[in-house]
């Protein structure tokens, strides 16, 4: 046994160049694995955060009738006295803000935009005083100013504004049906442009003050939703139960929905994508495996006569297997160690500085809710998997060519070359 280990290690040391090249191939494969995994986790983590910060908030109170027909955005299935509920929530330590969401036709006048046009839009009516307690739009303002209560104004997402050719100071007209079905038109001025890190939002965002919208739509103080910021905690469900009991006291029809429920489609896609990324990672492994099996094939092939000699002298097949497996395992170990070191090193920069993907994300809808800088995330299990896989896989792939060589009869081995 000692001789076998020594022989394997000496062969490793002897064929230094080949050992190093293969180990580097493995290391690069594992590094790719660690970094790709980190990026995917980072993208997902940030997507979910951006989803909560700019789309769903942590939890949302809706009329249960609204929830059932949420595709139609029914204004009549609303929360009649949102501020009273927000007040009650605040007494229990929760922060909330009302919103009303409705669809409209946006009419562009040739005066401002050069030519006439109209397009369907989704309007988010917010309370400028409290929206930023729950959402994060104020930080993303890049032009003009944020909304003020009661004004006839809109704020646009920067990609949407660019597509439209809208600038601060331009006027747009929104035509929609108010609460009750009547048609209503409102002239609103663009007062600000935000660059929202959530590309889905930045591509479509039109925001206006909720009281202005309420007047036009005859909401009578009602809102379609209350968005809530929950403290970061493991026990989100506990909060939901608590909130539900608070709102049950004032209105039987209201229910609170977690952001996971609100973003169900997105999460389903993310889940599917995780399967897809598994395929990518699998491919990375296949590449590493092919690399080492090729190396071991060469190593075994050029030593067939040596092998025949050892077999003639009475060395057992299992001892020969062992020698090659140790040799391959040695290469795998070196490759895995460097792969993990390089991977951790690369990931350090990825986690702390990130990569700027801004331009790519704009033109390509990848479904991720991220824009600009993508940061990685540490995932110890991926690093451990990479390490073990590199090491174990190397030994496994040495098995097959060794077995093939051992199937040759000894005279054929001795005649080889």
């Amino acid at each position: 046994m000692k001789f076998i280990v020594e022989l394997a290690l000496k062969n490793l040391a002897r064929y230094k160049r080949r050992t190093i090249i293969t180990a580097i191939a493995i290391a690069v494969g594992l590094m790719m694995y660690i970094i790709v995994d980190s990026m995917l986790i980072g993208a997902e983590y940030e997507s979910m955060r951006n989803l909560r910060w700019y789309e769903t908030s942590s939890a949302r109170i809706l009329d249960s009738g609204y929830w059932e027909n949420r595709m139609q955005l029914p204004l009549d299935k609303n929360i009649a006295q949102p501020y009273r509920i927000i007040e009650e929530l605040r007494d229990e330590g929760f922060v909330g803000t009302p919103r009303t969401t409705f669809s409209a036709d946006m009419i562009l006048s040739s005066e401002d935009f050069g030519e006439e046009g109209n397009l369907p839009v989704l309007i988010t009516a917010i309370d400028p005083r409290t929206d930023n307690d729950v959402f994060r739009f104020e930080d993303t303002l890049i032009e003009g100013r944020f909304l003020r209560p009661g004004e006839d104004a809109v704020v646009l997402g920067s990609w949407f504004a660019e597509d439209l050719g809208a600038k601060v100071g331009y006027w747009v007209t929104l035509v929609t049906r108010g609460n009750g079905g009547f048609y209503e038109a409102m002239d609103l001025q663009v007062v600000g442009i935000v660059n929202c890190p959530n590309p889905n939002v930045n591509r479509t965002l039109v925001m206006m003050p909720i009281d202005t919208a309420g007047d036009y739509l005859a909401m009578d103080g009602a809102a379609t939703e209350i968005n809530i910021l929950l403290p970061d905690s493991k026990d989100a469900n506990g909060y939901l139960v608590e909130i539900q009991s608070i709102i049950d006291q004032s209105d039987d029809n209201l229910a609170v929905y977690s952001w996971e429920a609100l973003a169900k489609d997105y999460l389903a896609i993310a889940e599917a994508k995780r399967g897809g990324t598994g395929v990518i990672l699998f491919l990375v492994f296949i590449i590493a495996a092919v690399g080492i099996s090729n190396t071991m094939l060469m190593a075994i092939y050029e030593r067939i006569r040596e092998l025949g000699m050892m077999r003639a002298l009475g060395m057992t097949d299992s001892a020969i297997h062992m020698a090659f497996i140790i040799e391959a395992g040695g290469i795998g170990l070196i490759g895995s160690i460097f792969g993990v070191i390089f991977g951790a090193f690369g990931n350090f920069f990825l986690v702390n500085y990130g990569i700027n993907f801004g331009m790519i994300m704009r033109d390509m809808d990848m479904g991720y809710r991220i824009q600009s800088v993508l940061k990685g995330a540490w995932n110890p299990s991926a690093i451990i998997i990479a390490f073990l896989a590199g090491f174990i896989l190397s030994m496994l792939v040495a098995w097959i060519p060794t077995r093939r060589a051992l199937k040759m009869d000894i005279p054929a081995c001795l005649r080889h070359q």
């Binding site: 000692k2 001789f3 020594e6 022989l7 000496k10 062969n11 040391a13 002897r14 006569r305 040596e306 025949g308 000699m309 050892m310 077999r311 003639a312 002298l313 009475g314 060395m315 057992t316 097949d317 001892a319 009869d409 000894i410 005279p411 001795l414």
Partner: protein, 227 residues
Amino acid sequence: MIKVEQVVRDYQAGETVVKALKGVSLEIGDGEFVSIAGPSGSGKTTLLNLIGCIDALDSGEILIDGVKVTSMDKKEKTTYRRNNLGFIFQTYNLIPVLSAYENVSFVLSILNLPEAEIHQRTMAILREVGLQGMEDRRPSRLSGGQQQRIAIARALVKNPRIVLADEPTANLDSKTGQEILKLMKAMNEKYHTTFIFSTHDQMVMDFADRLILLHDGNIISDERRSV
């Protein structure tokens, strides 16, 4: 005692069958120094491989000390070779990454002998084959003759009953070849090890105590000679 009885070995070479041995019979006693000679393709290597239990015969039987080789399975053959046989090859077949010492000592390592005994026996046999002081050299830093001396040491270190050498001098110049043969002869006399070596070189045949001539898969002469 090796007994070869009516051994036939056919090789399938594509469509045709090559009859490498066509019913060879012979007996080789313990401690003999035998040369198997004959032109290329006459079946020398085939016969040595069969005696060395690294090839399987098609009919006939070989008995080594009364044991039929056809009754041994692969594992038993491996064990048999490990304990009883030494091989010397035309191309030395040393392990390039190992030193002279390690190329010899590994034979004892796979016999699981104690470290001290391995060391003592390896050093002794290297001294006997004239490689004292070169223990640490890799094969690539030794001449062909020196490499074949390692191979002889490797074959003899475990004190085998039989050493099989397929054209052991074919890669050496005649002076070195003679030295190697003298060494083999000396070992044969000292340890009473049976040596069977093949050759097609007249000078090498002259060294043998007994010369078996093969031609076309048949033995055409078998003569003992006094030296």
